[in-house]
Structures are given as C-alpha cells and as structure tokens.
C-alpha cells in the first residue's frame, strides 16, 4: 500500500509537471494574445516526433535542444503569418484558426510518420533504474523528466520575476486589457511569447515521448485534458494552472492504480440486474474511469466555482 | 410618474467599494428624489462611473446599501434592477453593433412589453413592440437611419442610440453616463434638448463634465471627489460652496 502511494505520488507529480510545462505556455499566450491556442497539444506532439526523428539522426541530447527550437520557430511563424492575420476577425476566428491548425498538424504527422506508434527509445545513458522502492524499480529517465520540468519551472519563475519581458508578461496576466498599450514592439513580443510557449510544449513532448507512447493521436488525447487544466485552474491564472496541473496529474495517476469498484465494496449485484446498464456502473473499476476523472472534476468545478480554482475574471 | 412626488427614487446608505486595498468609493450617502434631475460631478478618477456601476448592479458594493424606491437593490444582478425600473447608459458607447438601429431599440423594448423569452411569437406580429420602437426611433431622430447597422453610425448618432436604448424600456429612473462626451457644441445642445424631453417626468441621475450642461439641466448637484461626496445641493448652493471651489471648480477657473 505504502509502495503504491509513493510510486503513484511520484508519477502523479511527474505527469502534473509535464501538464504544467504545457499549461504555463497556454496560459501566458491566452493572457497576452487573448486566444486559447487549440493547437497547443499539437506542438507537444510535434516536439515528440521531431525529437524522435532527430535523435535517430544525431542522438537524443541534441534532439532535446533542436526539436523544441524547431517547434518554437514553427509556432512563431504561425503567430506571425496566421494568427496575426486572423486577429481582426475576432477571438472566435482565432480559436477556429488554431482548431483547424490542430487538425492539419495531426493529418501531416499521420502522413509522415504513419498512424502506429514510433519506436522512440529512452537514451541508453538513462536506461537504468534510479532506485528501488520496496520491490519497484523506478526508471532513471522518469527522474530526468522530473528534473527537466523542475529546472524549466524555476527558470520560468526567474524570467518572470527578473526580466523586462517577464514584467510585461506579469502585467498582462493581471491586466489583460492593458496589453494593447505596449507600444510599437507589441508584435515582436507576441511572436516571442507564442514561440516560447509552443517550444515549452515541445520540450514536454521530447521528454514524454520515450516514456509514453509517441503516436499521431497523442495531441488529440492530451489536448482536452490540457484545456480542462486551464479551465479548472481559472483561465489566465498561472498559479491556478500550476495547482490544477498537479491536481489532475495526481488524481489521474492514483485512479489508474486503484482497482476498487462498487461490486468490490458492496459485493456482486443481484443477478436480476446482470444484463442492465446498472451492472456496468456496479462493476466498473476506478482504474477504468481514470480517463474521465479530469472531466468529472471539470463539471464539479463548474458547479461550485465557475471561475475556476484561482480564476478571477470572465473571458 | 407625476413630478415631485415626495418619495425617494434612489438612496445610497454608507456605500463603499474597494478593489484590493484601494478604496474607490468611501462612505457615500446620496438621496435622489422622484422626478428630480440630479447631476453628479467631480474630477476624473473621482469614482463617478464606479458609482453608476454600483447602482445599476454591474458591481456589488463592498459595504452599504442601495435602495430603489425604498427597496434594497444592492446585490441584485443588473437585469433584475432593470426590470424594477432603473436603466442606465454607458460612457463608452455600448450598443449591438451588428444589428440595425431598429433592432437595437426593439431589443430594449421587448422585456418591458412582456415578451420575456417567448419563442412562439412572430416578432413582426407584435403591434405594441412595433409602435413603441417606432416612437423611440422618432424621439431620438434616427428614423432615416433605421436600417443601418449600429456599428456604422456616426459618433453622435451612436450616442443618441445609446440614450434611445436606455429609455426604450420605459424605466422611470434613468442613469446617463457622460451622454455628451466627445460631442461638438451644436451636437451637445441637441443632445441636451433630447435628454430634457425624454426624461420629462422621470428621475434622472447624470454624470457630466460640461458645466453648462450640468447647470442648465440639473435640479440638484452632488460633487464627488476621491470617492467621497463633498457637497450636495441646488446649482446655486454648489456654485457658492467653498469646498467645491477649492476641490473642483477652482481648478477650472484657474
């Protein structure tokens, strides 16, 4: 039991930190540009596939640097030549543009790398158990993932607190309507923010790729959870996104490792109901409903705190 | 709606509003009698628009009570306050930009004529709605611009439409937030005549910067400085008030 708790907590925090790598960029982009980037998870996927391809050519470590830069450059290009054009047609058009983009990216990835998972392996340098708790070997690569996300997290904090651009971003987070007064270089700041945000998502992709499955549907699977994170945390709230990321990471990881069900707790259902929908609910295990946990959380939040955990403003 | 009934239209009791640690409205008491034209003046940033937002339900007061005809309305959402007969305009034009002038006014007439959320009535077969909308259209002199989308009107026309939407529901307490801001002299004169005519027999609370408008229109004036009402009285009393001269009129005279 204790073993389960320790391992699940580690995995949950890890998943939460990965989510936050993406949610932070998404939140900052939303606060500054006013658009929720529907294609954000697609850049995570691009990061994973670029990482896979580049590590085949030159190895994992260069890929860890090049893949996010490449994805970030694509992101900056999308902002400069796509979003900025659509901006005059309003936020709905911007959201729809990123929606179309997410669709197109998934198709392109499918065309290039196919529909089945690619063989993105953990680099040999990190392919050993970091430590053993009770009887479980905890892989070193996962510790590496955790370390990378924490380093970036700290780096982000420093940038936010100490640099000029960080101050601008902070101002945008608290007073989004003031962004228009940034002056003539507002376009360059937007492009930079979008590029860095998508590059962060790509970092998450490169480090998650070998540990999870690198496949053309990974954006479609993760995207909705990511949007749940930002809504649950409160749209435009960076601390909210952090709390919600960890919360959803932990909830989902713990749920997966639990096998309890109503049948397990109260005994089997009387055979009269065996063929009805009631038996589906009775026999389903917590592990099986893990995928819908984030969405249940979303509904609860909407009922009790419509603005999100730490959200203050309406869209 | 006869004029000078003894009752009170709007009353504020010890109203305060704070944003974080900044208090914008401090302990404001204000009474506006029914049928009175009351002007609220004060330097920029004094909290006049915030006060309007509090009265109309756009924001909730941090402390204090707001009453409409002796019933508490503070804490109610804007649409319920509107249904009780209080309507406001906005400082920055706030109309339905993609809809025509006709449709703009008609939207403001619907609730007052009891249509509620009806989805079984043809909107063109509602004579009362048609007539009231047409009447307002004539009143604000936008007949010729009836089928133009509101977003394409000139600035002065949009301001007139803003007033039209505000009065269309037939509310008898009207709040106008700087209705003549940004207008030329001639346009201001026309707007004042319009306001005078349309608020006949109703209670009016108006925020205004143009002193000729204020002193020409108002029965009583209140002066708001740094979130506090420093004086309240007839135009003559305000003109003679020393505190007001120091805090406000003095700046203008200098």
């Amino acid at each position: 039991m204790l073993e389960l708790i320790v391992i699940s907590t580690l995995n949950g925090v890890l998943f939460g930190m990965l989510l936050f790598l993406m949610a932070s960029g998404l939140t900052v982009i939303f606060s500054m540009l006013g658009v929720l980037n529907f294609a954000h998870a697609s850049f995570y996927m691009l990061g994973a596939f670029f990482g896979f391809q580049i590590s085949r050519w030159v190895g994992f470590w260069p890929a860890l640097l090049i893949a996010p830069l490449l994805a970030g450059a694509i992101g900056a290009g999308v902002e400069r030549y796509g979003l900025r054009r659509v901006h005059k047609n309003g936020h709905v058009a911007e959201l729809l543009f990123t929606f179309g983009l997410a669709f197109a990216i998934e198709e392109i990835v499918q065309i290039i790398w196919g529909k089945s998972p690619v063989d993105f392996r953990v680099p040999p340098l990190l392919d050993f158990p970091a430590f053993t708790i009770f009887s479980t070997n905890y892989p070193a690569f996962k510790m590496f993932m955790l370390a990378v996300s924490i380093v970036i997290f700290v780096g982000l904090l420093v940038v936010l607190k100490k640099t000029r651009i960080g101050l601008i971003v902070q101002a945008a987070l608290t007073h989004p309507h003031m962004v228009g007064h940034l002056g003539h270089n507002v376009g360059r700041i937007f492009m930079l923010v979008f590029g860095v945000g998508t590059a962060l998502a790509a970092v998450a992709g490169v480090i998650a790729g070998p540990a999870l499955v690198t496949q053309s549907n990974m954006a479609g699977l993760l995207g909705p959870i990511l949007f749940v994170v930002v809504v649950v945390g409160g749209l435009g709230s960076l601390p909210g996104a952090f709390v919600a990321s960890l919360l959803i990471g932990l909830v989902q990881t713990f749920a997966v490792s639990m096998n309890g069900s109503l049948a397990g707790a109260f005994g089997p259902l009387s055979p009269d109901y065996a063929a009805t929908w009631l038996s589906d609910i009775w026999n389903v295990t917590i592990a099986q409903i893990a995928p819908i946990m984030p969405y249940l959380l979303l509904v609860l939040i909407l009922i009790f705190r419509p603005m999100g955990l730490l959200g203050t403003r309406d869209t | 709606m006869s004029q000078f009934l003894k009752g009170t239209a709007i009353e504020l009791r010890g109203v305060e509003k704070t944003f974080g640690i900044t208090s914008v409205i401090r302990n404001v008491d204000l009474k506006v009698a029914q049928g009175e034209r009351h002007a609220l003046i004060g330097p920029n940033g004094a909290g006049k628009s915030t006060l309007f937002n509090l009265i109309s339900g756009y924001m909730k007061p941090s402390v204090g009570q707001i009453l409409l005809r002796d019933e508490t309305i503070s804490g109610l959402p804007p649409y319920q306050i509107n249904r009780r007969g209080l309507s406001r305009s906005f400082q920055v034009t706030n109309v339905f930009a993609n809809m025509t002038v006709w449709e703009n006014i008609r939207c403001a007439v619907l609730w007052a004529t009891g249509q509620r959320y009806a989805f079984w009535k043809n909107i063109d077969n509602l004579p009362e709605v048609r007539e009231r909308t047409a009447q307002i259209l004539v009143d604000i002199s936008l007949t010729a611009r009836r089928d133009v989308p509101a977003g394409l009107l000139t600035y002065a026309e949009q301001r007139a439409l803003e007033i039209g939407i505000t009065i269309a529901g037939g509310a008898d307490v009207i709040l106008l937030d700087e209705p003549t801001a940004g207008m030329s002299h001639a346009e201001t004169e026309r707007a004042v005549a319009l306001i005078r005519r349309l608020t006949e027999g109703r209670t009016l609370l108006i925020v205004e910067h143009d002193m000729s408008v204020v002193f020409g229109l108002a029965d009583r004036i209140s002066v708001l400085v740094y979130g506090q009402i420093i004086a309240s009285g007839t135009p003559e009393e305000i003109r003679g008030n020393k505190k007001v001269k120091e805090a406000y009129l003095g700046e203008e005279a200098a």
């Binding site: - | 804007p78 509107n82 449709e103 048609r130």
Partner: protein, 433 residues
C-alpha cells in the same frame, strides 16, 4: 398606431412578398419531390439523405455559433445521444409491437437531445466565449468516454444496431428501400429548417443575436444572458438530436463515433465553411462538405488534410464563409457595378489556381514517398497520372507554388482596388449602406 410612429416603422411585408416567401418554400417542396426522379440510383439517394441530415445538424449548430455567438466543440454529444436513443426506441417498439411508426422516431431523438442539453446546458452556458468552448470540449470528452464504459447501453466499440423494417407500419411503408428513407429525411429536414427559421424571427431569436453582439448590454435591457444562452442551447440540442436519430435510422446502427470529437469537428467545419452570418449559410456548408467528403475520399487518401486546409483558408481569407463571399457581391449587383470587378477576378484566378495546383502536386508527391515509399512512383491522383520520382514534377510543383504565390499576391491587390472602386460607386448610387 400613431401616424408618425407608423411611418417610422419598417413596412410590414406586402402580400406580394408573402406570396414570394410561400412560393419559395413550395418550390423547395417540389424540388425535394422531383429530385429522386432525376437521380434515382441508390448512391445518390444515400447522398441526398446524408445531406439532409447534415443540413439539420449544421443549422442546429448555427443556433449556437451564428445566432448566439457560442463556439461549441462538443455538439456531437446531442446528435449521438439522439441517435442511440432512436436505435433503442426502434428495438423496443419492434419487440413490444407498440403502434409507433418509424417517422415518429426522430422526435424521440430530438427529445433526447433536448433533455441532455437541458441537463448539461445550465452549467456549461454559465460562461460564454473561450470558457464555454473549453467546457463544451470537456463535456464532450466526458460523454464520449462514458459511452465506452457503459457498454450495455452504448454497445462498446461495435455499437448498437436495429432493424428499421420491424417497426409498426403505417400505410404499408416498410422503410426498407432507400427511397423511402430519402422521403422521411426530406420531410424532417423541411420541418426542422422551417422551425429553425421561425425561431430566428421570435423575441428569443432576436435576443440571441443581441447576446452574440453584446452580452453585457443585454443585462441592462432586462434580460439574463445566461437564460438566453441556455434556451438557445436546449433548442440546438433538440434539433441535433433529430439529426442524430435520422442518421441512426439511415445506417440502422449507432456507435461511439456518433458522439466523438470528429463528428463535432465536422459540423463545425460544415457550418463555418458555409457561413455563420446568414441563415442559409449552414445549408450551403452542409451540402458542400458532404459532397466534398464523399468525392475527395475517392480521389485522394489524404482528403482530410485538404479538408483542414480548406477550413484554415476560409478562416483566414473568407470569415463569412461561402455564403458571405456571395453576399458581398449583392450591393454591387444591385448597383450594376459588378462587371468592374469581374475582369480582375479572372486575372487573379489564374495564378491562384496555379498555386493551388502546385500545392496539391507537392502534397501528393510527398504522400507517395511517406505513405507507400516502396511502390511504383508512377502514381495517379485526382485522376491524373504522373511520376512522383521525376525531378521535373518536383520543379514544376515548386515553380507553381512560388510563382503562383508571387503573382497572386500582386493580382489580389488589384482585385482589392477594383473592389473598392466598384463599392464606392455603388455607394454613390445609394445602394450599399
């Protein structure tokens, strides 16, 4: 009504206008009756049925997006649940021999959509804008994932099937042959389109537009925008449920794909490409997208990519959709200045077409090398054979793309100039507002 006021009001439709209006609907009815006589093959009847279903679905979606300004990423939930309930209804009716004929079943689908929209709508319409969009996405994932857990009701991966001919029969219609399904879909489409059109002409319909334009101001004319959004959401769910039920009747099966993200995305594509600003827009979009998806899937394996690219192009260059593009020309047509724009269109058309051809050539070539790298390089796409390995083809694709791009930029500036001139002279004639 006083004379002054009545002269200020817009004229009520004259008898001639009313006649024109009813005549239009009559013409549509006649066209729907005649259509299967002209195209009687089973394939075209199926296509027509799918178009009808898609029209109802897209129009129901536009109650949200076009009329009330709510962008939903999860509209398929109500379509899918309508479909599942319809299938279960058919099975129950057939098993118990209830006297309920098949044409009534879509109503059950509609009521299902309505009930679920009423349940899920109150929390999701509390907020508008981006938050609403994300919430609709989350709820859609919730329902779609739950469908895979509740296997008894949703039938797991395989879905639930039914036999529509086993239902109680009225006038000896078995609803076995596709032609009978066509008439069933056509009748429901006509009814639903009429009802949704009527909805736009009611006080609620107009307040929906007001909420779309300015939800803040709506609160200050006595209306609660949340209630308006909620009611619009319920109506939208009702009509989506009808569409889903008709789809279930057509295919005699309902599966989890009905509720899924792809279905939600497709209706968004169809509605937006058709144009959300006009009532007829989603109808145009439904026809266009249905035919395109059936046609493209025969021509190229990567038709979905083209689909996405068309959508992006519409969002970027024609936010009013196809209908918006056509309607832009109305003032010019009325003023008779349309002829001034047409030559510049003809000039701009050539390089634009060249660029598009180049892009398609490049895509098809790349697809050949990534999807079937080992195969013979002499491929055929869109019916045209070419050698994907030939450097000439590559050079041609590059030339078409870059040359076409360069020239079309120049020519489209000309179009914009010609357009401005034509529009301003139309304004001088007092046509455009």
């Amino acid at each position: 009504m006083s004379d002054l006021a009545s002269s200020a009001a817009p004229p009520l439709p004259a008898a001639a206008d009313k006649l024109k209006f009813y005549g239009l609907w009559l013409a549509v009815i006649v066209a729907l009756l005649v259509l299967p006589k002209l195209f009687s093959s089973g394939g075209s009847l199926t296509t027509f049925s799918l178009i009808g279903i898609s029209i109802i679905f897209a129009l129901s979606y536009n109650i949200l997006l076009g009329q009330t300004g709510m962008l939903s990423f999860g509209h398929a939930v109500y379509y899918g649940l309508g479909g599942f309930l319809a299938i279960h209804a058919i099975n129950i009716v057939a098993k118990n021999k209830f006297a309920i004929p098949l044409p009534v079943i879509p109503l059950i689908g509609g009521l299902t959509g309505l009930v679920f929209a009423a349940l899920l709508g109150w929390v999701s319409t509390r907020r508008s804008g981006t938050a609403f969009a994300m919430i609709s996405l989350g709820l859609a994932e919730l329902v779609a994932s739950s469908a895979l857990i509740l296997r008894t009701f949703f039938g797991g991966e395989a879905g639930v099937s039914a036999n529509r001919t086993k239902v109680f029969r009225l006038f000896d219609w078995s609803f076995g042959p596709q032609i009978q399904i066509y008439y069933l879909v056509a009748a429901w489409t006509l009814l639903a389109v009429l009802a949704m059109y009527a909805l736009t002409r009611t006080p609620l319909g107009r307040m929906c537009n007001a909420v779309r334009d300015n939800p803040e101001r709506v609160q200050f004319v006595g209306y609660d925008p949340h209630v308006i959004r909620y009611l619009a959401f319920c109506f939208s769910g009702f009509f989506a449920g009808i569409a889903g039920a008709l789809a279930a009747i057509n295919f005699e099966i309902a599966n989890s794909a009905y509720l899924g993200a792809v279905q939600s995305g497709t209706v968004l594509f169809a509605t937006y490409i058709g144009g959300i600003g006009f009532f007829i827009g989603p109808i145009v979009g439904a026809i266009f997208v249905t035919i395109l998806s059936l046609g493209l899937s025969d021509l190229t394996p990567v038709w979905q990519l083209y689909f996405g690219l068309i959508f992006i192009a519409v969002v970027m260059y024609a936010p009013g959709g196809l209908t918006g593009l056509l309607m832009m020309h109305r003032p010019l047509l009325r003023a008779g200045t349309l002829t001034r724009v047409l030559p510049s269109y003809a000039v701009a058309f050539v390089p634009t077409l060249a660029m598009i051809t180049g892009l398609m050539l490049a895509i098809e070539t790349i697809v050949h090398f990534t999807v079937n790298p080992g195969d013979d390089s002499h491929i055929k796409s869109f019916g045209i054979p070419f050698d994907a390995a030939s450097p000439y083809i590559w050079a041609m694709a590059a030339m078409l793309i870059f040359g076409g791009f360069y020239l079309s930029r120049k020519t489209w500036t000309r179009v914009a100039q010609a357009w401005d001139e034509a529009l301003s002279s139309a304004r001088d004639k007092g046509v455009a507002a």
